[in-house]
């Protein structure tokens, strides 16, 4: 703006200022009432439309976070049940199958109840759409569900029905049905990670490399935890090993998500998401340590460890869900990374090496 055009003007008091509405908003401000946690990334300065969010927060509520847990649990337990079936562990098989089916039923309820129009849930079945992880997931569940329920039904048949012809046929079909469902279980456990990552939600999209392993690890930990809870110590060795391996994967991947040098990692390390995930870490770690030590001998310890693993898995899912919601509420998570990306691109075009993105993308 030139002042040399001869017009008499009062001096601008705000020389160099951009505008007063685009006041600087600090990141991590919304929803961060933790106080103790320090954001990993330095507070970023950015402009916005009166500090309003750019994105819509997910309209999904706690039911979807709960489904992430029940879906994973169902998958983990289905794998355990198939293994127990093949290696002759009847109690572990029976209750893993039942638990897996119960978790699947809960999942179905949660998914349908979260729809804006639950009575139209079957509209999901009118297309198969590879570009939509929700459509892919629908068909994975359609393939996974019947075998899972059939196997569980065979194990809980009343003795009276067991002897009849349909009862005998059902028990004959239980093993192939259970194996078919177990074959699809890893897909059930991992597709939800893609479901969350393929959104514009900054925290979820940014973690797309880590979420699948976090979710399958969490599924294994919860499935193993269920096995430890329901089966006698003598039969539960595979459950303990699966729980320990899953817990290790879950904890290490969760840590890797927190340690990413991106701004979006701040959504995981601050506020409610952080508190949920830290509680999850304690529970999962405790459950895993017990699984490889005391739970080998003591049934009560095994049950407690199983419960801790289940709770840890659930809290991890709620924490991840919460991080995504928090990242849409604060425009910093949208504006700052995109602005940096633009500036890097511009610098590259001008031939100057721009500031490198810490994670190398």
């Amino acid at each position: 703006m030139s002042q040399d055009d001869g017009t008499l003007r009062e001096p601008r008091s705000d020389a160099g200022a951009t505008d007063f509405t685009a006041r600087v908003f600090a990141s991590g401000r919304g929803g961060d009432d933790g106080g103790r946690e320090r954001p990993v990334v330095p507070r970023a300065e950015f402009r916005s439309y009166y500090g309003r969010p750019v994105l819509k927060p997910p309209v999904w509520n706690w039911k979807i976070a709960a489904y992430l847990f029940t879906g994973g649990l169902s998958a983990g337990a289905a794998l355990l049940a198939a293994g127990a079936d093949l290696t002759g562990r009847p109690v572990l098989r029976r209750w893993s199958r039942t638990g897996s089916s119960a978790a699947l039923m809960a999942s179905m309820y949660l998914l349908v109840a979260d729809l804006g129009r639950p009575e139209r849930f079957h509209h999901m079945l009118r297309v198969a759409k590879p570009s939509s992880p929700m459509s892919v997931g629908t068909w994975i569940l359609v393939a996974y569900g019947p075998g899972n329920v059939l196997a569980a039904a065979a194990d809980v048949l009343p003795a009276r029905v067991r002897a009849t012809l349909p009862g005998r046929l059902l028990r004959l079909a239980a093993r192939p049905a259970g194996l078919a469902s177990a074959a699809l279980a890893p897909a059930v456990a991992s597709y939800t990670a893609v479901l969350l990552s393929q959104t514009a939600v900054p925290a979820w999209h940014d973690a797309h490399r880590h979420l699948p392993l976090l979710f399958t690890g969490s599924a294994a930990a919860s499935g193993g935890g269920l096995g430890m809870l329901v089966a006698p110590v003598a039969e539960a060795a595979p459950a303990r090993r699966l729980a320990a391996a899953g817990a290790a994967a879950e904890i290490l991947t969760a840590r890797a998500i927190d340690r990413r040098p991106t701004l979006e990692a701040g959504a995981y390390t601050t506020g409610r998401a952080h508190r949920l995930r830290r509680a999850s870490e304690y529970l999962t770690l405790g459950g895993a340590v017990a699984a490889v030590t005391l739970a080998r001998r003591s049934r009560p310890v095994a049950a407690a460890a199983g419960l801790a693993l289940l709770a840890g898995s659930a809290l991890q899912r709620f924490g991840v869900f919460e991080a995504g919601v928090a990242s849409t509420r604060d425009p910093a998570y949208v504006v700052v990374p995109q602005r940096e990306r633009l500036e890097r691109r511009k610098a590259a075009q001008d031939g100057h090496p721009g500031p490198a993105r810490p994670d190398g993308t």
Partner: protein
């Protein structure tokens, strides 16, 4: 899926990629915000023609914008920005006037605080009301003396669904309710939508939302019914300054380039096109803009990318994780006997 750029990158003809044959040319909006006067005729025309319900009668206490943002029941939103800088070499002519910012710092703090505690961080604006607390009874500028007088400019921009070449909402819709029309626009079929809400999180612009009372997702249809009847969309029809221009996209892009050149020649160096570039993260917008400041100042993301771009990579990571789970589940049953 007929093209290597079906998921991202430049795509010449989205309608053909979606399977339309012998379709009309791609149409869209060019919104030239340099001539927008903030009259909101577009908001009214849209509501009237499309029978869009009330979205909350609010006073937001931040500027003359009381709509807030696009939402399920606001398909056009006129952003209103006040800044302490003149437009180009313009003389705001304020030397003798007792003017000042129409929003005070106190008001902004009250509103920002209200937003922080609002249920969805204020993002339900455009769909429902938000109680931010009445900010102030002060008259705009009343408390500012001569020393507070400032050069200022008003930025107004009518925001709308961008009808992206690669639409995040369309890609993730699991029911096929969202579809690509023969005009290459993106429309929700309300008799199909079951309100799963995936599109709300799939949109990198935060446009589409679900109506809480109705349960379905709603957004701008680019007046699909009017297009089929050979009419231009209601907002473009109502715009008194031709800030909203409707037409075949190729033509609009040429027109926008000419207008940008003209403005740069006139000394408005800050003018820029937003959503014009077919090489950008969403393959170019069907509704693009000429802006006078950075996009984030208008509440637009500076560099949006369709989430689908990373889809193959995401499934690859999921495949690795799923295989690891299967391997782990098999391994725990091998060895160790029955214990």
């Amino acid at each position: 899926m007929t093209n290597e750029h079906s998921l991202h990158g430049p795509l010449e003809d989205p309608a053909a990629d979606a399977g339309h044959v012998g379709h009309p040319p791609r149409v869209g909006f060019f919104t030239d915000t340099s001539v927008c006067i903030g009259c909101k005729a577009c908001e009214v025309a849209c509501k009237t023609w499309n029978d869009v319900p009330e979205d909350g009668l609010d006073l937001l206490g931040m500027s003359y914008d009381n709509t807030g943002m696009l939402g399920a029941s606001s398909w056009r939103h006129v952003a209103f920005v006040e800044q302490e800088r003149p437009l180009g070499r313009q003389d705001p002519g304020l030397a003798a006037l007792p003017t000042g910012p129409s929003v005070t710092g106190v008001q902004q703090d009250v509103v920002a605080e209200g937003m922080r505690h609002a249920e969805r961080g204020g993002a339900q604006l455009g769909t429902g009301p938000v109680d931010v607390g009445f900010p102030s009874f002060e008259l705009p500028g009343a408390s500012t003396g001569a020393e507070g007088r400032t050069d200022f400019r008003w930025l107004m921009s009518s925001d709308v669904c961008k009808h992206c070449t690669h639409a995040g909402c369309l890609d993730v819709c699991p029911t096929g309710a969202l579809f690509r029309t023969e005009f290459s626009t993106v429309v929700v079929q309300q008799d199909i939508c079951n309100g799963c809400g995936y599109c709300v999180s799939g949109c990198p612009y935060g446009v589409i939302d679900r109506r809480p009372d109705d349960g379905r997702a709603w957004k701008c249809t680019l007046c699909y019914d009017r297009l089929r009847g050979g009419l231009e969309p209601a907002c473009a029809k109502a715009c008194p300054t031709d800030s909203i221009q409707f037409g075949p996209l190729d033509e609009l892009r040429e027109r926008a380039d000419r207008r940008l050149e003209q403005l740069h020649g006139a000394g408005v160096a800050e003018a820029r096109l937003y959503g014009r570039d077919p090489e950008d993260g969403v393959g170019g917008d069907g509704a693009f803009f000429l802006l006078l400041d950075e996009p984030e100042v208008y509440g637009l993301p500076p560099d949006p990318v369709v989430p689908t771009r990373d889809l193959p990579r995401m499934w690859k990571y999921a495949g690795v994780a799923a295989s690891a789970l299967l391997a782990a589940a098999a391994a725990v049953f091998v060895g160790g006997g029955k214990r």
